[in-house]
Symmetry: C2
Subunit: 215 residues, 2 copies
């Protein structure tokens, strides 16, 4: 009777998963949480590959409507879908078309320019040496944060683009969390560090935080 | 007097550049073409890093309106902007919110799941050996096309999602072109191979094709 409209397949520490959890929390949309373990091979299991042939989380399954049972993949595509189908909910795409172009570009600096290189399968393909895998990830995360910091430098707002929390911040927060796991020094990125630290107190970030989903 | 509204900084063989050229051609939007050479270091020059601190092409500069002189980065963000600001032009996001979620996910399979690994800087960071760089690229392109082919398998339309050319095809065509440069056998991907081959005859593909911009 009270089944939420969505079922989210995700992993607590996956940054793409956290992005979608942030969007759901921001828009106050309830969901059923289904953990998929990235470390024990569950994400490469036949059951999960049927949900997403890329073997990635998150996957958002629709529970209602004409597409009930269908599964959506790719975090930005999912967030874009939630934006379009819940126009009454708080937006992650504030401002004008120009603002949205800047916001989306920042999101892609993380989504396509940073995060892919820290995927386990990519690290393992790059090297069998754990230390080299770590150096590789640190290199790409640092580079991505440098680009992000440069792009937001001239901005005067309190978030990545202006004074409204947006898709750019939705991608930034989990990426900085991941940088901290690698002990990357954030002092070279004062602006994004500040955004990260102040955002941690936002209800949508508290509610969606990896710690809340830790097994 | 007759200056186009946009100036596109791009490289003839860059797949992300071609995506934006496809979108501009699809929407019949004129632009001034400014080549940026990816092979001789021009994309890492101070002049280009000022346009895009990531050192990537394409960059779309706005020539008119309140944001004249501003530069937009990230191919999908640019295409999304063109869609929003030219609603009268033919769309690359046909259908419903659900269709757009599927289209955007396919675009990201290429944009964040495939193309980043074939960037020159990434190949060079992975290995100094040219043959290993090639193996690395072939591995990721093949994997990306496998995921794409699986996702479109159940579709009945003539394009990646349904019977309308979309953002998914806009990302697919340049990626397949790149796969062919690496001599990747496409026979394992009959559906996307067919889409690629038939799309080559579309006016927007002919007009935006790398051959047209070869120095």
């Amino acid at each position: 009777m009270n089944t939420p409209s969505y079922r989210l397949y995700h992993y607590w520490r996956s940054s793409a998963s956290w992005r979608v959890r942030i969007a759901l929390a921001w828009k106050k949309i309830e969901f059923e949480s289904i953990p998929v373990n990235l470390l024990d091979g569950e994400s490469e299991s036949p059951a999960h590959l049927k949900r997403n042939p890329a073997g990635f989380v998150p996957v958002l399954e629709l529970n209602r409507g004409p597409h009930a049972g269908e599964k959506l993949t790719e975090s930005l595509a999912i967030i874009r879908y939630l934006e379009e189908t819940h126009p009454e909910a708080p937006t992650l795409f504030p401002g004008t078309a120009f603002d949205r172009a800047k916001i989306w570009a920042l999101a892609e600096v993380v989504n396509s320019g940073t995060q892919p290189f820290q995927n386990i399968s990519v690290m393992e393909k790059h090297s069998v040496d754990g230390e080299e895998q770590k150096r590789w990830s640190i290199h790409w995360i640092t580079h991505g944060l440098e680009v992000f910091e440069t792009l937001i430098q001239s901005g005067k707002g309190q978030f990545s683009h202006g004074d409204h929390f947006s898709l750019a911040d939705t991608c930034l927060i989990p990426q900085v969390y991941s940088a901290k796991r690698y002990d990357i020094d954030l002092s070279a990125f004062p602006k994004l560090k500040h955004i990260y630290e102040t955002s941690l107190n936002l209800p949508a970030i508290v509610q969606s935080h990896p710690d809340r989903y830790k097994p």
